[in-house]
Amino acid sequence: MSDVFVASDHFAHASKILQEDAVTMSNISKSFGATQAVDGLQLTIKRGETVALLGPNGAGKTTTINMLLGLLSPSSGSIQIFGIEPKKAIQHSLVGAMLQEGKMIQGIRVGEFLDFIRNIHPTPLEKSALMDIAGLHEIANRRLDRLSGGQSQRVKFAMAIAGNPDLLLLDEPTSAMDVESRREFWTSMRSYADAGHTILFATHYLEEAEAFASRVVIIHSGRIAIDGTIQDIQQQYGGKQMIFTSSDASDFDFTQFPGVQRYEKQNQRITLHTTDADSTIQALITSRCSWQDITITKGNLENIFLSLIHKGAAQ
């Protein structure tokens, strides 16, 4: 009789976890003394999403991740990971994380360290699979304190996924990697995401967010400034840029053209920021403005990011 209860209880717990959102942060604030690092953050991440967390230095990215991991407690608001407290989620091996800092300990070989990490999790990944994913085969016998920056990042990645966690939190995972290891890293990351795991990563590299995230959250001054898919954001905030040279540009006010939000003029070089490139180019052709060497580029996150920071600085 008691066995039945244990079994059904276990099932109830597991199915509850399956129904919950991966991350629920409601109205989170965190201050350190007089500094408000995070200010009323509201964020829900569904199972299976890959979310990039972007923002300038000091925007509150690391503080947010530390709170999601239970390393810091919010000053106010509540955080749930699969419906439970962050610290409990860690104890249940539901969350894995890769942190920015942290020198490796001395005297332990990579292989021995993986054995240790695997043995403390209830349902770890197979050791060979883990070494495949993180690319550790050739350094299995090296000591942890004698690894290069990129190699120790790979060990930290293995450490994060060893317990096969449902949610993976990565704080600037590729910061110590060269171009080649960065590409390999994201390939591993993608296969981990494809297996249905939820991933939240903070990054400085906008191209990483564009390439790997299904959703981008930009925080600025401890608040969410932008939240959406890359396509949404590009449409809503990025638009397109139309660049050309013109000898008589000073006669024209390009903001009168359809779709143009603003423009820049540098000598004869004009950059129009437009939300509707088709209408803008038609207006340009029918206008009497002279133009040469026209290129149209998709607005990228970098531009959005820059305009956001400038806006913040102006306030």
Binding site: L71, G96, K103, I105, G107, F116, I120, P122
Partner: protein, 245 residues
Amino acid sequence: MKEYIRLESLRTVRDPLYSTIAVIAPIGFYLLFAGLFGSSPHEPGTLSGNIEIMVSMAVFGGIWSCLVATSPRIAFERSNGWTKHLQLLPIPLRSILIGRMIVAIVFALPAMILVYLTAVIAHGVSLPAHLWIAMALLMWIGVWPFAILGVVLGYLTNSEASFGVTFGIYQVISALGGLWVPPAILPESILRIGKLLPTYQAANLGWHIANNQFPTWYSAWILLMWAVIFAIIVILMAPKATKIQ
């Protein structure tokens, strides 16, 4: 905790600060001092130099084993963010701390036994079996408080200062506690301080037993008092020492 104990044990086995200072140095010093002063005649009822120095050096090695597996590692991990990584593992920090102290005291035992073996082989020291066992066991327990002291020092220092501070304190309390110079020739004023130290009292357990006497309760109380003081400091400091900035 079992897994963590295995990990820390590997670190200790490979730690040159353990093998040189806790294992090789006490044996070397024993051979040196026992060779110089060990066989001089002693008054009836007192210990021969061979045995007295054996006890001192065993305690000296055992203490360092307790300190080296705790203080420098804790300080390094706190300074370099490793403590943060440990908090992301499904093991409570308390188990990690206890596992670390267990490794520290377990590795004190071989360091101490090697000094006894050196005394037997090099200077033919012999004691009845029951005295060997009682002495080795009680002296081993006598160095346990130093594992807690190591945690205190690990919390108080950063990775740069830890080794120097720990080694310095180790040398000072060893000297004041009569491990370097036989207590009989220490000045009375220093000996009065020395007798309040856990270094002196851990060795005093061994000096009594080797002389076929019961150790004094005073030794036990002093060691227990220091263990409790260190433990209270650890409990008070732990929340702040492991906090993430």
